[in-house]
């Protein structure tokens, strides 16, 4: 009997280290489903970030490598330029991409590097213990914004996609979430469009996935999903930011 729903071929049959209700495992799976459906597992090279997803290479059954914190798009640039026929994507968290690696992501986009970027935005640094990220919402308490994030002291939540939409080299940008099955389907389709953009040789693309961090939001997994729907997507509106 054919299976209606099973673990994708590109996802290793091992448990992940992620906390209960963490979005990373789900997004890893969506990436793998798209890779399997496009039939590109054997030509895929993934660049994992530093952060919670640093162990992504333990879960993906294709070529993977690490990059220093935030340098992920620079490493991907080196790989893709030498192997233009391979499929190269980075998987980055908001600390990796929107803080320490801001220069690398913007310039990779500006050069129109033909890479795909999966940007997982959960508004905190998970791996190091829930510190404030550039994407943390105003009013949010974290390990390093104990009196709530204040605009006049800690600045505003950064919207990387909107910033990058002005760069001509950037072809496709979409923000999605995973708080419901409907949004999960949309996220998968966005990942597919991003990957297809690269396969068509068109240029830089990125999908920002608004994802829960129940542990450092101090919410149950279900309440963390509700918070995204009620609160987070007001700051980070979902939809295609650039491209079609």
């Amino acid at each position: 009997m054919s299976k209606i729903f099973k673990r994708p071929r590109s996802m290793k049959d091992v448990p992940t280290h992620y906390c209960p209700g963490c979005g990373h495992g789900l997004i890893h799976r969506l990436v793998c489903e798209v890779i399997d459906e496009l039939g590109i597992r054997e030509k895929t090279i993934a660049i994992a970030p530093v952060g919670c997803a640093v162990f992504a290479y333990d879960y993906w059954d294709f070529d993977t490598m690490e990059a220093p914190h935030g340098r992920t798009p620079a490493v991907a640039t080196g790989v893709k330029r030498m192997l233009p026929d391979k499929f190269v994507f980075t998987y980055q968290g908001d600390g990796d991409l929107a803080a320490i690696g801001t220069a690398e992501i913007i310039h990779a986009g500006n050069r129109g590097e033909k890479i795909s970027v999966i940007f997982v935005n959960n508004g905190v640094y998970g791996m190091t213990g829930g510190q404030m990220a550039p994407t943390t919402l105003l009013g949010q308490v974290t390990a390093t914004s104990q009196f709530k994030r204040r605009a006049d002291k800690e600045g505003y939540p950064i919207k990387i996609l909107e910033m990058m939409s002005y760069l001509p080299g950037v072809v496709y940008l979409e923000r999605t979430s995973i708080f419901s099955p409907k949004e999960i389907i949309k996220t998968k389709e966005a990942i597919r469009r991003s990957f297809q953009t690269q396969l068509d040789g068109k240029g830089f693309s990125m999908v920002e996935v608004i994802s829960p961090c129940p542990t450092y939001w101090a919410l149950s997994p279900i309440d963390a999903m509700k918070r995204i729907e009620k609160e987070v997507i007001k700051e980070y509106p979902l939809g295609v930011i650039k491209g079609n």
């Binding site: 009997m1 054919s2 299976k3 209606i4 729903f5 099973k6 673990r7 996802m11 448990p15 992940t16 992620y18 906390c19 209960p20 209700g21 963490c22 979005g23 990373h24 495992g25 789900l26 799976r29 995973i178 419901s180 099955p181 999960i184 389907i185 129940p214 149950s220 997994p221 279900i222 999903m225």
Partner: protein, 69 residues
């Protein structure tokens, strides 16, 4: 309504996050107090007969713990 599908939950893979419970349209999933090797109360399908195999639970599971045949 029986659809002939079979939903299998891998108790050892389950982290008990309950996201599947929240999306099941027929509220067929739950916990029974049983724990897996990691000490986590895992999710079980309480009423297999009424499961339609819609796969929403599998879709939202962050741990690939649910398989539907």
């Amino acid at each position: 309504m029986k659809t002939g599908t079979k939903t299998r939950i891998d108790a050892e893979r389950c982290k008990g996050c309950e996201l599947c419970i929240s999306v099941c349209p027929k509220k067929l999933l739950g916990k029974k107090g049983k724990v897996n090797k990691r000490g986590i109360q895992y999710i079980i399908l309480k009423d297999a007969d009424n499961c339609t195999g819609c796969a929403l639970c599998a879709m939202i599971c962050p741990d690939c713990a649910i398989e539907i045949k």
